[in-house]
Amino acid sequence: MDHAHPAPVGHGRLVGRLVLVVAAAFAFGFALVPLYNVLCEATGFNGKTGDKKVIRDGIGVGGLAAASRAPSRIDATRTVTVEFTGTVMPGLPWDMRPLTVSLDLHPGELQQVKYLVRNTSERTIVGQAVPSVTPGQAAQHFEKLDCFCFAQQTFAPGESRELPLTFIVKPELAKDIRNITLSYAFFSVDKPSPTPTTPRESR
């Protein structure tokens, strides 16, 4: 009965199962993308700043309600140094520098800093800043109440503008973190964005 080519009878079911494994593994690869994002937001892993907890905490958008915070939430017993930096990615003819390079603050204090951005080209350009916080553990306690990175920025030829950022470092920040670096990567948005960044992504 067994010939040179064994009859494929009986192989079908096993092959079917193995193909299912392959399909599941392929799907798993794509499932890793949302899984990874969820993990990053939950842990601050990789410097992704947290989700929209601002409103849930009862602090108004734009920092308006921040003044009404109980002062006791400011942890005056320690000082954290926040440093500001940024990179202009290739393809974006902008000059960029933080007007405040470094800032000592108490966790819980509302602070505002500005970045000076100038369009060095002869055309109107739309750009988008993407933030990243180091160390990653600090990211989830770094709350941006208002940030130029929430929206795309349009600059006329040669236009120069100060872009504000209002933020709080939450008192829940781990005690052993004394330095935080906030870095922006400025990207060019060639066309009025075909895939607008979602609020989650821009934070």
């Binding site: 040179a4 494994v21 794509f30 180091t134």
Partner: protein, 530 residues
């Protein structure tokens, strides 16, 4: 099942002749031969690329090529060696030997087998075509990101990246087909009486490899597909400007990439006990322990991937998890090493070429394992990451572990395949030249890495000049000694002393009960295992 049924002497060798035979064959021996030949050719193709790289690195400064071309050479070298040389060589072994070793008449899915092989040459052409296209002014050459396709560089790269993505897709489909075939063959076509725990260790090694392949290659396929859509279809999986994350790519890639190391090595680990037992004239020590080690390594290999990018910035708990899980792989691996040594212990050893390669494998692969432990240490890795230390480490693993392991198998089984003995003198010359020049090439790279020389850079600081010069000399000797290997195989195929069926006096297993060379169709009546 079919033990008693015999066929009235019909012969099945009615295959077409010439090129059509090879294009249409569904015979496991023909396909095995094609896989092995393809692997040997691509081994030289990948080797020529890296010799050009080593020539450039002979002296500091840029002499022979521009950095862009240098970058293309190192990336394509790795892709060719991994996907087009080592993996096909292992699949060739599986095709040739699995049916012989488990008493099966052929692979379970012969047509799929033919397909699996014939996808390889187009993939190899796709991978290397951009080099040629660049000569005619089309595009800017092959993929220049290194074999890891790291985003965002690969998102920005030229058409070489697209060619490599498609090549990887095709190579992936091919190896998934091969793996499904191997699993089905092992599960369904074992000789009656051959329980899973009587399976030859080579089959066990390949079985784990096959499962790793079908579980991880699709993830790589997904990752490079995302890369492709990022490049051309406006998605932002890895593009930070659109809210994506380049580091996500590293996770996806190494989720495949780390098991890939074991995919390359498990078939070799499966083969080693056979060779060691034969030339020590003792039964394999610790069969069960080795089987469970294979399984343990297979499972562990998919949960340790992030040790390839410790320096990317991870929370400390994650670093610690990946460090300890990585180090824990050394436990089952140590079990394998002790089993290999115990197999030889007080054996009546003789040192034919396959045994020499096996011993060289154990010593040099042991060094790969020990230096790997150093790299797995998060604190130490911060210094060694992306240095030549890493390059030396994985060449001890993949050349000494992978390729010398494959050479062990070739010398061991060549007389069975061809029916002729190879030249033992040439074989010994090949071994000693290989092992000495291999160390000459890669030992200095450990020191270079410790001293801080980064990998993948065509130029270096003056203090690295001596070690680089030594390494280049070693690489050229290593490269040219492989011509001996090719010549020895060629001679053996053409003729030579007739090999006995048994070939090696104390070799055990079903494959040695067949004539050398085995008939075109073997085990038409399955043997019964007691």
């Amino acid at each position: 099942m079919s033990v008693a049924t015999t066929h009235p002497g019909e012969h099945h060798e009615h295959h077409p002749s010439g090129i059509l035979r090879w294009l249409t064959t569904t015979n496991h021996k023909d396909i095995g031969t094609m896989y092995l030949t393809f692997a040997l050719i691509m081994f030289f193709v990948g080797g020529i690329m890296i010799l050009a790289v080593r020539a450039e690195l002979f002296q500091p400064g840029l002499q022979l090529m521009q950095p862009e071309f240098f970058n293309q050479l190192i990336g394509v070298h790795a892709l060719v060696m991994i996907f087009a040389a080592l993996m096909p060589a292992a699949t060739g072994f599986a095709n040739w030997m699995l049916p012989l070793m488990i008493g099966a008449p052929d692979m379970a899915l012969p047509r799929l087998n033919n397909w699996g092989f014939w996808l390889l040459p187009p993939a190899a052409i796709l991978l290397t075509l951009p080099f040629t296209l660049a000569l005619f002014g089309i595009g800017d050459g092959a993929i220049a990101t290194g074999w890891t396709f790291y985003a965002p560089l690969s998102v920005q790269g030229g058409i070489g990246v697209d060619f490599a993505i498609f090549a990887v897709h095709i190579l992936g489909v091919s190896s998934i087909m091969g793996s499904i075939n191997i699993i089905v063959t092992i599960f369904n076509l074992r000789a009656p009486g051959m329980t899973m725990m009587k399976l030859p260790l080579f089959a066990w090694g390949w079985l784990i490899t096959a499962f790793l392949l079908i579980a991880t290659i699709p993830v790589l396929a997904g990752a490079v597909t995302m890369l492709l859509t990022d490049r051309h279809f406006g998605t932002h999986f890895f593009n930070a400007a659109g809210g994506g994350d380049p580091i996500l790519f590293q996770h996806l890639f190494w989720f495949f990439g780390h098991p890939e190391v074991y995919i390359l090595l498990l078939p070799v680990w499966g083969l080693m006990p056979h060779v060691l037992s034969t030339f020590s004239r003792k039964p394999t020590y610790g069969y069960t322990a080795q089987v469970y080690s294979f399984i343990a390594i297979g499972v562990l290999s998919v949960i340790v991937w992030a040790h390839h990018f410790f320096t990317v910035g991870m929370p400390v708990p994650a670093l610690i998890y990946f460090m300890f899980s990585t180090m824990s792989i050394s436990l089952p691996l140590a079990v394998l090493f002790f089993c290999w040594i115990a197999t030889m212990w007080r054996g009546a050893m003789s040192f034919e070429t396959p045994m020499l390669f096996a011993l060289g494998f154990i010593v040099l692969f042991g060094m790969a394992g020990l230096t790997g432990l150093v790299l797995a240490d998060v604190a130490a890795d911060a210094q060694y990451h992306h240095s030549y230390f890493v390059v030396a480490h994985f060449h001890y693993a993949l050349f000494a572990g992978g390729i010398m392991g494959v050479m062990t198998g070739v010398y061991y089984w060549l007389p069975k395949w061809t029916g002729h003995m190879y030249s033992e003198t040439l074989g010994k010359w090949h071994f000693w030249l290989t092992v000495v020049s291999f160390n000459l090439t890669f030992m200095p790279q450990f020191f270079l890495g410790l001293a801080g020389m980064p990998r993948r850079i065509p130029d270096y600081a003056l203090q690295f000049a001596e070690f680089n010069a030594i390494s280049t000399v070693g690489a050229f000797i290593l490269g040219f000694s492989q011509l001996l290997f090719a010549y020895n195989i060629w001679r053996c195929v053409k003729g030579g002393e007739k090999a006995k069926d048994q070939v090696w006096e104390s070799a055990e297993g079903l494959e040695w009960q067949l004539p050398s060379p085995p008939p075109y169709h073997s085990w038409e009546t399955q043997p019964e295992i007691k």
